[in-house]
Symmetry: C2
């Protein structure tokens, strides 16, 4: 397999844009990424497009008015992991020698049009989902179990939101840029006990794009890219895992494969964008991705290591908690943040000397993690 | 790139099964394909799953109860071309050396559940679609133009349906197996002039699977496969093409690439499964795929060449017109037919001495071919 680089990125701000269809958001991100990569758009040979809710052939609609159809376009869906699925296919297409330069696109509008209300409702035949076993409930049970098992407190969990808001206050692309206190987090309205509103990622619209390129092509273009050291996509089951619901088996498996592929370990990672859909999720991923031991998440967080200025900064863009989570777009937006950080272009939220970044996402069918996909990518400069 | 073979196939009958969810249909096809390939299901390394309407992570739901999650699963969507998109990714994953044995799955339920009614409605912002520029209207305009330009008659078009019903009467997997006459076709209820009901492909549910394998792995297994000589997937625009709406540019382009990749021409092809969504479509594809000259479709058909017993049999399984068109499933079901024919296992509809098969599909967003994908594959024994 060949070496693969990201040579350009672009994204829209994330927020609620009910009047901007997904293809309009997608076009903005494509144009920005092409400009950032400083390439002729006609040299892009294929497009892998992550989207969940838009209906038929969304990628074609993104590329159409840019005059970029003709190439191979593959629309992919893997729930929350759709964006990293697009990136994985883009990586594979270039690594295998099939193409020299392609695009990974993630775009989603969850607030507008007919996809709004029903977007996150359980399937008709999903009895557990109809009875309440949807994402907030599933994560709430994991949180309660974790608190019971390791003595973590409501305040510990709230600190994840406090940290991520501190980060997002420095990010002009974030949906929520306000600072919050532990008291404010805990006083916000209840969603699924122990979660209050500020502990759940909000709905959002947005788009992000990465231009993915072979080393040979990059050198020929005189570009300087960020290397993709690992690209992993796996499937799995949540309910199928062993007795401990505080260990996300699919993430454990995917991250081990990614570390192996990159030949590094957590100690080498400067920043992580993880799937912090709820505050507890960051706790579970500190541990499962190998940044601290089991049950040590609260002290890891309180030590400052996961915060800007720390050794392993988590969710430096504000994470899903402050960006929001436009399903198909998130995985590619994580990539954009990694590239900006590794290039030293992240402005006020720049991680000094960042050399290696990991992005992680995990998602499943509507009623939870039962039909899951997990993506992990590692980048370096 | 490595040589790639299909070493096993399976499918459900096509029909209206409102009470069989897509994953139930998909499971049946997976089990049949694994059995046909005579492999251990644990050796399947990835699944590429074509589906349009089922919502989040459909592939995971297909594989879950079969204990086949863990591997990479990529859910793909390209409107009518979703199934061939899955096949193209499966081909690429094996040809590139990424995997040795993977599955292409197509599954769709269009009649059941909440996806039924709205499934084929135009987008809210699709003014042309809302005004009637949907598939039957688009193909009807192409038909009228073709008839005007080349003098084809209503009877000529009806003969496509007569032929395909003759074929489907020999196919236990077809939704409609009755013989029809020209008079019956023309007397069926009007849909979009000049089309009557029997000239439009029906809604259907169904699933199909192909096990895709490297040559090395196939030899190791002692299996005998059907070789994939060409695997092409492109995007394009319908409205963007030159002045003549009777020339589907995207098909012309994809088929030329496929012939080039396989190093053969139409004269070498024994059978074609094309995208006969309406009777006129077969006419356009006789010509665009290179089996007769422009304007010669009616005489090509009347010569018997496209019929069982002829030199280039079109739609020997009954085509979309008699099978129906469960969007995500169709491209893989075309593959299943090609494999059965090339192995000499097609029963009463067997094409004697079939050595080379082509499958073709083209699809786009709801309101027609404006955001299109086209797949062409060529197989040989």
């Amino acid at each position: 397999m060949r070496e693969v680089y990201v040579i350009g990125v672009g994204m829209t701000p994330f927020g609620k844009f009910p009047n901007r269809p997904y293809y309009d958001l997608g076009k903005e991100a494509v144009v920005k990424a092409v400009k950032d990569a400083n390439v002729d758009k006609r040299e892009i040979q294929a497009g892998y497009v992550g989207n969940v809710k838009a209906g038929m052939a969304p990628g074609q609609k993104v590329f159409k008015e840019l005059g970029m159809t003709g190439m191979q376009i593959v629309n992919v869906e893997n729930a929350c992991s759709s964006g990293q699925t697009a990136l994985n296919l883009a990586y594979t297409a270039v690594a295998s020698g099939q193409y020299d330069m392609v695009m990974a696109v993630g775009t989603e509008n969850l607030t507008g049009g007919r996809t709004g209300g029903e977007a996150l409702a359980p399937d008709q035949d999903d009895i557990e989902g109809i009875l309440g076993n949807v994402m907030p409930g599933i994560y709430a049970m994991r949180a309660r179990r974790y608190m019971e098992q390791y003595g973590a407190t409501d305040e510990d969990l709230a600190l994840v939101a406090v940290k991520n808001h501190k980060h997002s206050s420095l990010n002009p692309y974030a949906q929520y840029r306000n600072l919050v206190t532990v008291e404010e987090v805990l006083a916000s309205r209840k969603v699924a006990e122990p979660f209050t509103l500020l502990q759940c990622c909000p709905v959002a619209d947005g788009a992000a794009v990465a231009v993915v390129c072979s080393k040979e092509k990059m050198l020929q273009l005189g570009a300087k890219g960020v290397k993709i050291e690992a690209s992993i996509l796996v499937s799995g089951l949540f309910k199928n895992q062993p007795s401990d619901m505080t260990i996300p088996e699919i993430t454990q498996r995917a991250s081990r494969l990614a570390y192996e592929m990159a030949g590094i370990g957590p100690e080498d990672i400067n920043m992580v964008e993880c799937h912090d859909a709820f505050t507890i999720a960051e706790f579970l991923y500190y541990e499962t991705l190998g940044f601290c031991g089991k049950g040590e998440a609260a002290s890891f967080l309180r030590s400052g290591q996961a915060e800007l200025g720390g050794r392993h900064v988590f969710s430096v863009r504000g994470g899903l908690l402050c960006m929001g989570h436009p399903l198909g777009a998130t995985g590619v937006a994580q990539t954009v943040e990694a590239v900006w950080q590794l290039r030293g272009q992240a402005g006020d939220r720049q991680i000094q000397g960042a050399k290696t970044a990991m992005i992680h996402i995990t998602g499943g069918g509507v009623s939870g993690m039962d039909n899951a996909a997990c993506g992990v990518h590692i980048f370096s400069v």
